[in-house]
């Protein structure tokens, strides 16, 4: 099972995305990013699924998100 990590623009949107993704059958958790980004602290979503499948769901619900990393590592 591939794992996708998505950085989110807010913790609220992270939980919103989690709720939607779980309703679509994805296993999902909200965490704080392990590394500080150029902007500062960030919340991430860890989702069991491919990036294309995850972003397709997020896009269909107009949920803004940041960078995508397939291997779960944060840049």
């Amino acid at each position: 099972m591939s794992k996708t990590t998505v950085s989110m623009t807010s913790v609220t949107l992270a939980f919103k995305a989690k709720r939607i993704l779980e309703s679509k059958g994805f296993s999902c958790s909200v965490k704080k990013a392990p590394k500080i980004s150029v902007n500062g602290c960030t919340h991430i979503l860890e989702v069991s699924g491919t990036a294309s499948a995850v972003t397709a769901v997020l896009d269909s619900y107009n949920i803004k998100y940041g960078k995508i990393l397939r291997d779960g590592m944060f840049p």
Binding site: V30, K32, C41
Partner: protein, 379 residues
């Protein structure tokens, strides 16, 4: 025994679920929501999100457009000052609470905006006409209560919302006396809805909501920590965090969810009917006296009744009732504009039941008022 009829100020008692949530939150959810990554923070953050989602579902909003505030005044100040930050003209109704009137007046005094006051009529059509007649080329917003806090009169808020949509201006609705007893939705034409959490939603004091449809940018009243993007000294523009700087009242917010759950479990219609029946019983009980009831036959009302006993001071009546175990608020109720309209500059006494009151309590109150009235002239 104390019987509480001051629910328009804040509801009491609170549902057991609200009390239990407060205990649970304080005992178990000790993390700071949205800050850090440890288990307690994650649990608290998720609980806050669940409360936000509950409020969003209740009012038909997107979850990220639900902003937690400390009360309705905080929400209204955020909305009014945020929308009018670049100046312009704003219209408020003639029965606004000081929570709207004072921030508008303060901005006008500092020459940051101009304002007009639209008279509220017994006729909904006339009220909407009054608003329309005051619109100018630089009018940016209309602020109105959905229902007034002195008499409980329901304004034609959907028509005011429609007027604002037609004119392309922002409608800020104060739902302080309406939310929880009326089914208020953002789709009613409301751009920004402000409400306390501690009145008809049965949450604890220190809670309020600002809900936006996202159409109009709200400049934040405060800037500060939001838990993310700290390297940017510019305040984030992402809602809800953009308007929620600083640590949230997590205990209050989590308990507010239980309050909304309680309202949903009872149903808004049943709550309204129960409280409205108590108001009817109260009015009917005093119908054989000279008690002045501030209602007219053409308007609709939320379950609030303002009254006076002729030739008496409302505060003295309330003190007498307090001595007999009844909690009612007398005075101006922070709404001088409404009292100017009513011609009650000495104030009124306000009867405001909740779902927890019953007919027997109302009968006892009516008896106490009659007993007091018999000792007065002209009663």
């Amino acid at each position: 025994m104390t019987i509480y009829f001051d629910n328009a100020a804040t509801t009491f008692p609170k549902p057991s679920g609200v009390i239990n949530s407060i205990f649970y939150s304080v005992k178990n959810l000790g993390g700071n929501a949205g800050r850090g990554g440890h288990i307690l923070t994650r649990k608290t953050s998720e609980a806050v999100f669940e409360s936000r989602q509950t409020a969003a579902d209740f009012f038909g909003a997107e979850v990220e457009n639900v902003i937690f505030t400390s009360n309705c005044t905080h929400a209204l100040n955020t909305a009014i000052q945020g929308i009018m930050s670049q100046g312009g003209h704003i219209i408020i109704s003639g029965i606004e609470h000081n929570s709207s009137a004072r921030p508008v007046f303060a901005m006008a005094q500092k020459k940051r905006c101009t304002f007009s006051i639209a008279e509220v009529s017994d006729s909904d059509e006339q009220t909407v006409k009054n608003f329309r007649s005051l619109v100018k080329s630089d009018t940016k917003a209309i602020v109105s209560v959905i229902a007034g806090n002195v008499t409980g009169q329901i304004l034609p808020y959907k028509k005011i919302g429609k007027l604002c949509q037609e004119l392309g201006i922002c409608y800020i609705a104060d739902g302080a006396q309406a939310c929880g007893v009326m089914d208020i939705k953002m789709s009613d034409g409301i751009n920004i809805l402000c409400t306390p959490g501690h009145k008809g939603l049965y949450g604890p004091a220190g809670t309020g909501l600002l809900i936006t449809d996202g159409k109009y940018h709200i400049n934040p009243l405060m800037q500060g920590g939001t838990g993310s993007s700290e390297f940017n000294l510019k305040q984030t523009e992402t809602l809800p965090e953009a308007l929620e700087s600083g640590t949230l009242n997590t205990t209050g917010i989590i308990a507010l969810k239980s309050g909304i759950d309680f309202v949903n479990s009872k149903s808004i219609d049943k709550i309204f009917k129960h409280e409205n029946n108590l108001c009817k019983k109260f009015i009917d009980g005093l119908s054989d006296t000279d008690t002045i009831i501030y209602r007219n036959s053409t308007s609709n009302y939320v379950p609030i009744v303002s009254f006076n006993i002729p030739d008496t001071n409302p505060e003295e009546v309330a003190q007498y009732l307090d001595s007999k175990g009844f909690c009612l608020r007398a005075g101006l109720h922070c709404s001088p504009l409404a009292h100017n309209s009513l011609g009650t500059t000495n104030g009124t006494i306000r009867f405001a039941p909740s779902i927890f009151n019953n007919a027997d309590q109302v009968e006892r109150l009516v008896k106490a008022i009659k007993k007091y009235g018999k000792n007065q002239k002209n009663y």
